[in-house]
Symmetry: C2
Subunit: 255 residues, 2 copies
């Protein structure tokens, strides 16, 4: 019988050329598939909930692949988790393993995805958050204006203006953004602004372009209503810059 094994995976994206397997590059998928290859003594090809770019982190990435029941019979989840964590580098951690019926896909069965983006705005650079936040050398950001702008993003829209131009050619660019929340919190003793975005799915660079656009508003360079102009333009050049990869974490997936 065929079953689908689903891994919940955390990784620090700093050292990787993104999630997706690429020849001659160190990728998260490459490392995971290498470990699975040793565990199952055969080639294992995986599917993920979201292909993160180079430098982007993940807390709750989901990775699925088919296994034959015989391959996993008598093997405990605890032992397999331990083996996989011993076989992957320390900056990739397998948190959990679950089994789903044949046909399940970490990608196609995902109902929504949550990303969180951290910003440190301060004259002084972050230290503990250096690898996990975008440092903006501003002493204040107008969070109220950013929140107002964020409301315009919610709902089913064509987000073509927020998509890496080369990825938007002849592809559907409508997505449903369910939540955009901004809150400040302390992490490792340092203050940061978190932009939390939940949507059914995301275009290439969409979250980072949303963040770059909201920061234009937070610094006062643009008004909140500018977001509406950006959306209506259907043109990547209309939006703000793409925020750096290190601030972004693929947080979780709902099925």
């Amino acid at each position: 019988m065929i079953e689908v094994m689903v891994l919940t995976v955390s990784y620090n994206g700093s050292a990787y050329s993104g999630f997706a397997r690429q020849p001659k590059r160190t990728t998260v998928q490459g490392e995971i598939e290498h470990a699975l290859g040793i565990l199952f003594r055969r080639e294992v090809l995986t599917t993920c909930a979201g292909r993160t770019d180079a430098g982007v982190h993940a807390l709750g990435q989901h990775v699925s692949f088919e296994v034959m029941t015989e391959e996993v019979e008598g093997r405990s989840i605890r032992k397999m988790t331990r083996s996989l964590n011993a076989l992957t580098p320390e900056d990739i951690v397998i948190r959990d393993i679950r089994f789903m019926p044949e046909g399940f896909s970490a990608r196609f069965d995902a109902k929504s995805r949550e990303y969180r983006y951290r910003i440190v705005y301060s004259a002084v650079p972050p230290m503990f958050l250096r690898e996990y936040a975008w440092w903006i050398r501003e002493e204040s950001l107008d969070i109220t204006a950013m929140r107002k702008a964020a409301q315009h993003l919610i709902g089913e829209h064509d987000f073509k203006s927020f998509c890496l131009a080369s990825s938007a050619v002849d592809k559907p660019t409508c997505r449903n953004v369910m939540e955009v929340e901004l809150f400040e919190e302390g992490q490792l003793g340092e203050d940061c602004l978190v932009i939390r975005v939940v949507g059914n799915a995301f275009l290439h660079s969409m979250v980072r372009t949303i963040v770059g656009t909201l920061v234009e508003i937070g610094t006062g360079r643009r008004e909140p209503a500018w977001v509406l102009d950006v959306m209506e333009a259907h043109d990547r050049n209309a939006a703000g810059p793409c925020a750096p990869a290190c601030g972004l974490t693929f947080w979780s997936v709902s099925y």
Copy 2:
């Protein structure tokens, strides 16, 4: 006129042979004094609130040194902070600069010091907290028992049993521990137990030995009252192991 300049400093201790300057070693003090030497074009010798060991981090270390008023006249704090951050490596950040009257010492005027120790207890290793927490491969810890044990540490006591043996020879080993608090929190999306210790001053390895001792109780290997036996022994061999450096952060100093 002589004034005292006081820096508030954060650092990731992973790459350093501790805070204190040592010949031919990379140390936090060495890096800071090197930067100050360039800024003031002379040798600058500093004093700190607490000399952290190799691998120990700091959020709010304080470092002081004397300057002549002429050396700092007309220089803005903002610019000096920026210069120092440009002159130190990225894992050392000067957060703040203040001036105090002649005679002030970051070390001798400190009224209390706070340390925080992070523990991740889980079958699965931490990922984002790997460099900032001690991973204990246990699925539970008896936090209630640890809190009970911690209460025995509060007050003015001889902490010789919690001091690195070679450092306790012919030196006073009484210290006043004001608070030992245990709480669980999420950091970078991962759960950890924080042991927060506040005292007037600490002996060498004292916080890490307190943590190692409390963990013996948390795992059920010892009873909470064992802490009293440890204290009465006045012998380092009576206490639990010294917890790893990476879990410890020198959090703040009160003057």
